[in-house]
Subunit: 315 residues, 4 copies
């Protein structure tokens, strides 16, 4: 098959990976069953509690709502051969003496994995193993995932924290392949005077989002983002979701050319932590809003790997 | 063309409507420009304010979150030839010594007008005229609406009110074609001890939602819902959104067999008020939750007539 | 996942098949490499030659063309959750003083496997093994099959033979689960005075096609068709394609309740013979046309498992 | 709406076309009803007869089949926001002791108007008027054209003629915006020693097809093709289909910057002659095959404006 616009996940030339060996490698450190039990399908969403809802609610003092979701439209940056199509058919005539007419729209695309997207636990695996040790062939069925589908996540209403790493580094936008370290996160949090608490959603502002629809080629070619060290710090902090204003959340390509999306694996497969990609965090950063109520409810698409959406930060 | 599963909007046999006469009829009562100006595209969303956000926030005292959105899945009830398809492609191999693999999903359908759906101002018109007097041919383009698209709505965070009309009438489910009157709404509100305020979202519980995925044929054949009188009462109350646990919000078919979706026209075209259809209000009704924070942000689908979603009621 | 409209391939209750054992079973009789070499991707299409084109051409004496393809439309019978959707968007305005406007259509569906469909060699396998011993994981990739794709087949211009088994059995339509035997095929051929030659396309008329769009539920619930014995006779006759006026070509369900689509496996995987399903053979049968030039060129959909189309029988 | 990848049909800046005036202009020369009657939906396909089938058959003397259809694949050149997507879902398990498994594919796109495409009579109009004076609003419905749909065309088996204009001009490829004249067609026919007869299909070789998948940007930016004069010559010759190895058949942009696709209008709307675009005529030209049997049967997509396909030239 002709290779067209194929996304290169690796900076280097690792090829010929033998998936058959996945089990051995992946099981070597016994990362499953999950801390929420061998049958759990919700991962870190289990950290969401009424108390976190109330903690988030207390942050709403101004009544200001920030939309963090991008517009879905033709021409937005996408990987490889993914697509997004929207068409308005001719109007339907309902008739009646009141002359009823209506429009609808037909849409197609990889809707859980384009534009602003929320990655579910069935998205990324380690060889044939996914969150809680679920084997690909056991749950990934053609008509939808029979486990780990996005419909299991439920509503996310909790405290949100923005970490403005660009500001901490004194730039509007981090360099293209900059790997954000744990020290960067700690430094930025300290500068902001913000702390992270269990059950939080953490958004990392890199400034990369300014390229969205202004320089799509640069936007998609790479992105600054968190590395494995920073990610482990967030795992240890027991967060629920990590989001960013880029397409990968984690740095792409990874500085270690032999690794493909290791932070996705660390978050999704090993720790049940969700990713929220292509967020628009510019207004929050501009206004210096580092704590807020984060509200997002994935579309309940049975058996999907992710969800589009328009998450909110409320103050 | 063979007529397959074509939805009959009219109970009777009105045919041969001459759209060319639409302007005359529709303009007879001068319902445009809108009260928010001739260029407005957001309608009743203009009633949303920081004060309404704070009013809603004060209702959150328990930290309980109700998901009002239905699951999107094969087999859910839909009109006519609309469709919904989700498929999980074979896994993509990212390679790397960490054996990265991922799934995504390809989805197609009339996504703004299937399942739980939020109707935007470009959805229903009166002949060739839509909200604010916009003419169909001027804004309804094949690649998306150039005005009144759902991306203009923004986030909806406001006080929500549930009116349990089924409970008021002493039934679990209203009869198939029952027209809810203004008196019903007033009676139910009085019984509940609830009032409606400007800028609210109003959800009407009819019990019809119990048929979802249990008796789809009955669910879609008709539905109890508000009539024009009840709708006018809600217009006068200056609400933002009216939702229900059925597919039409308004009664279908209309008791006046010559009318097709008159409440959609009254709300969307004449008053800029949104509809939210196929909500799951059962848990709210069961728990007797009549006031809550309603949070919903339409997917920002440029030029779309509506949005899928999972709106929340928070207490 | 809720089980909706799931097609039951088996008449009985065989479950828990362990695919891991596939290799052993499938390899027991060493049906690969193929007779056309270990690298071949075209199977029985290799039997097509200029001589067969000329043989077919000689049958064209009247200039009559029969369209064997069904109309693709909403409401046509389909399996399970497969779909077909066609919408005409609003017209596009090209402008110009000549007032250019155009329509197009947006279509989605499992296009190689709905309606009149031509099954390619990547469609059905035996456990993880497909034609020529190709392993599923080696060639079935998310963006298309990297081997055995329908684009490899090429044009089919050859002698076609209709075997009217319904007429042979003295009925307009064979019973719902009737298994056509080798004796039936031989008897019908003898009655017709027709012979089968290597490189032919064979179409089996069962009368089942009369149910298309007239009783879709009955049409799809089962179908009379050839059994393994009749299929083996066609294999031995060295044909290229076997088609029929039903959805399965072979009898469904198989009289042996423990077998799922054994003729598909015999034809596609073991012998590289193609299937052509949901053909409209009524006019050929009515006119007693048992020999003709068969012309079909699959859509060259890179990496697809099959192709829609409108094959022709010319006399 | 952001203008992304919008195709510019006009070389100049004509804007603000008032469609309301279309009727007057389009009717000024009374080009309808058609010569085949006011109810005709097949146009020049009415010229296809058994005699033309036999005439074509006589040209088959070698048994050589040329596939004229391109491969449909990700990355092929397309206009504006049209798309083509193919995905192979995970394999479906049919079970059985014979371990049945199958693949299918989910495809979406503007299938009648991408890749190798056959333009039907509902594709291009003059203002609001299409072939036989059909008004857009009368037949172009959201679920499909109710008149002029591609399912009306039927099979095309007739004499085909290749006119190698590139060879006549002594080049491998005509210049990007070269307008082929009637004199060019006549000169090339004379050089080839070929004549055109009523009921023929005419293919024009420009050499532009060599850019397909090798320089898509150049391919789609313009193309050499026939002008109005050459087109009128083919109208007068009473052909059925005019095809070419480029995306427009006619020259794009038109040398008269105020005209948008005038040849499409002349062929489709005024004369019921079909266009066949993006053909691969390279092998025919290379082999000097100027007469052949042309066989093509549009996919019977009810209500579609065009059809994909793989037309054949047989010698």
């Amino acid at each position: 098959m002709r290779s067209i616009g194929r996304y290169v996940w690796l900076a280097g030339g690792i090829a010929g990976v033998v998936l058959a060996g996945a089990t051995t490698l992946a099981q070597s450190d016994r990362w499953y069953p999950s801390r929420w039990g061998a049958d759990d399908q919700r991962g870190a969403a289990n950290r969401l509690t009424p108390a976190k809802v109330l903690e988030a609610t207390k942050l709403i003092t101004q009544g200001t709502v920030y939309q963090l979701g991008r517009v879905y439209e033709a021409g937005m940056p996408m990987f490889g051969t993914r697509h997004y199509s929207l068409r308005i058919p001719k109007a339907f005539d309902m008739g009646g003496k009141n002359q009823g007419v209506y429009h609808d729209e037909v849409i197609s695309g990889e809707l859980g994995q384009i534009g602003t997207q929320f990655d579910g636990l069935g998205h990324v695996g380690i060889g044939e193993l996914f969150y809680n040790g679920n084997r690909m062939d056991d749950f990934a069925k053609p008509e939808g995932l029979t486990k780990l589908g996005i419909e299991n996540v439920g509503a996310i209403v909790t405290r949100g924290v923005l970490i403005d790493v660009a500001r901490f580094k004194g730039v509007a936008q981090l360099p293209p392949t900059y790997e954000i370290t744990a020290a960067d996160l700690k430094g930025a949090l300290q500068k902001q005077g913000t702390t992270i608490r269990p059950g939080d959603v953490v958004l990392v502002h890199t400034g990369w989002g300014a390229l969205w629809m202004t320089d799509n080629a640069k936007f998609i070619a790479s992105n600054p983002g968190i590395g494995v060290g920073a990610a482990q710090m967030l795992v240890d902090a027991e967060v629920v979701v990590v989001g960013s204003d880029n397409w990968g959340v984690e740095v792409f390509p990874n500085p270690d050319a032999s690794l493909a999306a290791p932070v996705h694996q660390l978050f999704l497969a090993r720790n049940g932590i969700y990713l929220h990609e292509n967020l628009d965090t510019a207004a929050l950063a501009r206004d210096g809003i580092y704590e807020f109520a984060y509200v997002f409810a994935p579309l309940r698409l049975r058996g999907a790997t992710g969800s589009p959406g328009n998450p909110l930060a409320i103050r």
